[in-house]
């Protein structure tokens, strides 16, 4: 079985080689897509087979003990491998048509392809790593290669700015992780994940390590208030990469948090409560910020923050379960979080790749300039709509199913713990319902402004290639399949969650709901809908006429509701919290002249937290900047002193 994985990984590397060596860029792209999707399929098969029959010895290559200690195949690693490969295949398929618009810059495209394949490879190896150093190496590789991938159009200033923010922020995250792993190493004396132990009895080290580990992983995952890099990086990345960034790379942060929970047992109560609070905060404000955006990719990036929040709520519930070792709660919380991680990877890929198709046709990301796409590409809009319904958490699609598990977790924990728990869990439930309402508002907004009504800027034709349809169709199919019949994946998740459950009382998913009942209802709904549609289409008495306009028939696209006006009612409630700014210039003359409206959505974390800290640090650094400009000898002295400081700290650390 391991040979399959080796084959898959080597095919991914070979894809990168082909992308460099094959002369005609068009051909190189085709070969790249073919080879890469074959390699990813092998890895997907590897993950699936191993997940269904979890290996007794969780080691990769048991024949080679040297290698096998670096990698391990436990349920969690394999589940994330499944997520990575199933989100990567559609992204690779869409690469072909998306990069067609950049083919005149062959070198940049080749560089992008190489870095993209290395991102894919390092992400897969990162989740399988069992050795902290190996983990960090692949973590760095993933981060750096994603950074290089961001630079496809590096001549644009906004891309330079956004990619720098990504680069700086993720390196701060890596810095935190270095401290985290070194502290873990000093505690356990081993570099292997399977040996790591972090208990509260170790005193201060526990808090420091937990803090740095959580901050490092939370920056990657995009929990608020560490999310500020996400909207910048996602909106400027080439869309196939932003799909992968949002669907998978931020999930490596979630993977890290899961691993952390494994190290820290027994878990104190405040961890679960803290994660719940920060996650609810991320979920509510992520979606609220999303509502204010006009840039489709920025909007989707804020939705990633919302979904990371929902995943975090599941993790928090699972932590509460682990603290008191209540098996059903562990299952519902962590299982719901894992399921939502998978689902988010699927529907977010669908939405991002869809936005890539729109970008390659209309060359804009501003949704206020779109509209009327449904008339030229109804099937494409239908697929995008499936993703939107799924991400809003509505039945009968997969987003609902994972939120359903998390809701069940709220009810379960309230009835188990009693006391004040029902009160807090009710607040969580209402919070999640509120998030659902905001997500509904947001996705009705983007679907209607982007696709429906009349065209705001004329587009001649809207082409969606066969490969695009294939990749979007696959993703939409998975959304539908796991919405109606989640039993397939819930079985797998049960075996993954068993890692966190103690011993024989491991739960199976069938105890929590009558799943077949739900499947039946959802299938019946779809059946009813399709029957009614067929019946309605077959009716003959219908015709077309102009839309109602109080007797005015000359409606133009400029009279349509815009995204800003649609969201104005909701955003008006929280203007000050959200840092929304709008400038209205209404002329005070009798006769109408030009008036202006401009709105801008800031970010409280960026404006209020990161920028002040950043400028403070910059101020301090510039105060010693004269060293580098005056005399070279001073500068060398300065560097020596720095090295001495670090070396001295290291020596003191070792001997004290």
């Amino acid at each position: 079985m391991d040979h399959l994985f080796i084959l898959g990984c080597s095919l991914i590397l070979i894809g990168a080689v082909f992308a460099v060596l094959v002369k005609p860029i068009q051909l190189a792209l085709r070969i790249y897509v073919g080879v890469m999707s074959a390699g990813l399929l092998f890895n997907l098969a590897f993950a699936l087979v191993n997940l269904v029959h979890l290996p007794a010895t969780p080691l990769l290559f048991p024949a080679f003990p040297v290698l096998s200690s670096f990698f391990r195949l436990d349920g969690l690693a394999l589940f994330f491998l499944l997520i990575i490969t199933s989100a990567a295949i559609p992204a690779i398929l869409s690469t072909h048509s998306y990069l067609n618009q950049y083919l005149h810059k062959a070198a940049a495209v080749r560089a992008f392809l190489v870095s993209f394949s290395l991102v894919l490879l390092s992400t897969q190896l990162l989740v399988l790593a069992n050795h902290a150093i190996v983990f960090l190496i692949f973590w760095e590789l993933m981060t750096l290669m994603a950074y290089l991938g961001l630079l496809l159009e590096k001549e644009k200033p906004e891309i330079q700015k956004g990619s720098f923010i990504y680069f700086a922020t993720t390196h701060f995250a890596t810095f935190c992780l270095y401290i985290f792993f070194f502290l873990l190493h000093s505690q356990s004396g081993s570099w292997l994940f399977s040996d790591f132990q972090l208990t509260q009895t170790s005193g201060m080290v526990f808090y420091v390590a937990f803090f740095f580990g959580f901050v490092g992983f939370a920056i990657k995952a995009g929990f608020m208030p560490f999310h500020f890099w996400l909207p910048h990086a996602h909106s400027i990345a080439p869309t196939v990469l932003s799909a992968f960034l949002s669907a998978v790379i931020i999930k490596t942060g979630i993977y890290g948090i899961f691993r952390m929970l494994e190290f820290c047992s027994p878990l104190p109560l405040w961890i679960g409560a803290g994660i719940l609070a920060i996650s609810l905060f991320s979920a509510i404000f992520g979606v609220w910020y999303a509502l204010a955006q006009h840039d489709i990719k920025k909007l989707l990036a804020y939705h990633s923050i919302e979904n990371i929040g929902i995943i975090g709520i599941g993790i928090g519930l699972g932590c509460l379960g682990m603290t008191y070792s209540i098996q059903p709660l562990i299952w519902l919380g962590l299982g719901g979080a894992l399921f939502h991680t998978f689902n988010h990877a699927i529907f977010k890929s669908l939405l991002f790749l869809g936005s890539g198709v729109i970008y390659s046709n209309l060359h804009t990301r501003n949704i206020e300039l779109m509209g009327g796409i449904v008339k030229s590409a109804p099937w494409f809009v239908g697929l995008f709509l499936i993703g939107s319904v799924a991400i809003s958490g509505l039945p009968p699609l997969n987003g609902f199913m994972s939120e359903f598990l998390i809701y069940r977790g709220f009810f379960e924990s309230a009835s188990i713990f009693g006391g004040y728990f029902p009160f807090f869990m009710l607040l969580m439930t209402v919070g999640l319902a509120f998030v659902g309402g905001l997500a509904l508002a947001c996705f009705t907004k983007i679907n209607s402004i982007m696709f429906l009504g009349n065209e705001r800027s004329p587009h001649l034709k809207f082409t969606v290639t066969g490969l695009d349809y294939l990749s979007l169709g696959l993703l939409a199919f998975v959304c539908l399949l796991f919405g109606i019949y989640p039993q397939i994946i819930l079985g797998i998740i049960s075996s993954v969650v068993a890692i966190f459950q103690s011993g024989e009382s491991a739960q199976t998913f069938s105890t929590f709901a009558q799943w077949n009942f739900i499947t039946g209802i959802f299938a019946a709904i779809i059946l009813l809908i399709s029957t009614l549609i067929i019946w309605k289409v077959s009716r003959t008495n219908q015709r077309k006429s102009a839309a109602w306009g109080c007797g005015y028939a000359g409606q133009t696209s400029r009279m349509q509701y815009t995204a800003s006006s649609y969201a104005d009612d909701i955003n008006g409630i929280a203007v000050s919290v959200l840092h929304l700014k709008s400038k209205v210039k209404i002329p005070e003359t009798i006769f109408p002249v030009t008036s202006r409206f401009h709105s801008h959505a800031g970010d409280f974390s960026e404006d209020g937290l990161v920028k002040p800290i950043y400028s403070w640090i910059i101020g301090k650094i510039t105060s010693v900047d004269f060293l580098s400009r005056t005399d070279i000898r001073f500068y060398i002295l300065f560097m020596l002193l720095t090295v001495l400081f670090y070396g001295g700290t290291a020596i003191l650390w070792t001997y004290l």
Partner: protein, 308 residues
């Protein structure tokens, strides 16, 4: 689940499908009487529906396939909420752990497609209605979880049928609970079914409406589905409200049945009375009104957490 139980659940479902237009007729009749008119007969909604089903369907030239599927999806989702909701003390056709969440989210699905169907026309009228619907829905969903959800947390059940059956009359706090829930349930009904003082179903000025303006360009069978769906929705919320008085039916089935009927009738009277006495609120103040309902919902839980 054996056949007789499912038949028992099917009977009220069919009954409600038949009765729900009558409920709206009842509201309209009472409203007419209160304003000193004779008004349309109580059967008028049935005539309307029959007329709509015969008429031809006109689609706006700017409309796409979304307008064609949206009424169907919205109607089907509402129909299935009715299958989950227990009617009186009868077990519904579908009752399972967690159906309270499915109930809330099916209504969300209905709303999602109704909004899309409205926005499909590309007219500002529909846009205005859709934006308002989306905004008020954000505040209406918490109310649902604060009323029925708080009861779920107290009782430890997650199936609506079990939740209603867990209300015990012998506890004094239950009476307080019934009153408080009825108030926030009423506000929820008013919001979700677009009645006064949130929305005016009778106004003919497009700029002031929510629900009516969203279906401005629908006609024929589409309008039939939307209207019938909204009638069913009112009935769903009326049943939702009346079921809080479930404890009476545990003492005596006939007492419970008559209480159920009386509560629903009283509800129509209250709606009619409110629509006669109160003008529609300013759009800006509606969120505050809904937050007020949310605040009473919190009261529910405080009562239960601290009184018991």
């Amino acid at each position: 689940m054996d056949l007789s139980v499912s038949l028992q659940g099917l009977f009220p479902f069919v009954l409600i499908l038949l009765v729900s237009p009558f409920l709206v007729g009842l509201i309209n009749k009472q409203k007419a009487i209160l304003t000193g008119r004779i008004g349309a007969p109580v059967w008028q909604p049935y005539y309307d529906l029959a007329r709509l089903s015969r008429k031809e369907t006109i689609y706006a030239t700017s409309a796409s396939f979304i307008s064609r599927i949206a009424p169907v999806i919205s109607f089907s989702a509402i129909l299935f909420t009715l299958l989950i909701l227990p009617i009186g003390y009868v077990r519904p056709l579908f009752s399972f752990n967690g159906d309270i969440i499915v109930f809330a989210y099916l209504l969300g699905l209905a709303r999602f497609f109704q909004i899309l169907g409205a926005m499909d026309i590309g007219s500002s009228f529909e846009g205005m209605g859709a934006a308002r619907e989306a905004t008020f829905a954000v505040f209406a969903e918490p109310i649902f979880f604060f009323t029925l959800g708080s009861l779920a947390f107290i009782s430890g059940h997650t199936s609506i049928y079990d939740i209603y059956h867990s209300i015990q009359l012998d506890e004094p706090s239950a009476l307080v609970f019934i009153i408080v829930s009825s108030i926030s349930g009423f506000i929820l009904l008013v919001t979700e079914c677009s009645r006064m003082p949130i929305d005016d179903p009778n106004t003919h000025l497009e700029l002031t409406m929510i629900h009516e303006v969203m279906i401005l360009d629908n006609s024929g069978i589409d309008l039939f589905l939307y209207q019938y769906g909204s009638y069913i929705k009112i009935m769903v919320y009326a049943v939702f409200e009346a079921s809080f008085f479930n404890p009476f039916s545990m003492a005596n089935e006939w007492l419970g049945f008559s209480v159920f009927i009386v509560v629903i009738f009283l509800l129509t009277t209250v709606i009619a009375w409110v629509e006669t006495m109160i003008a529609r609120f300013k759009m800006k103040s509606i969120p505050q009104y809904l937050l007020f309902a949310t605040a009473i919902g919190i009261l529910n839980l405080l009562i239960y957490t601290f009184v018991r």
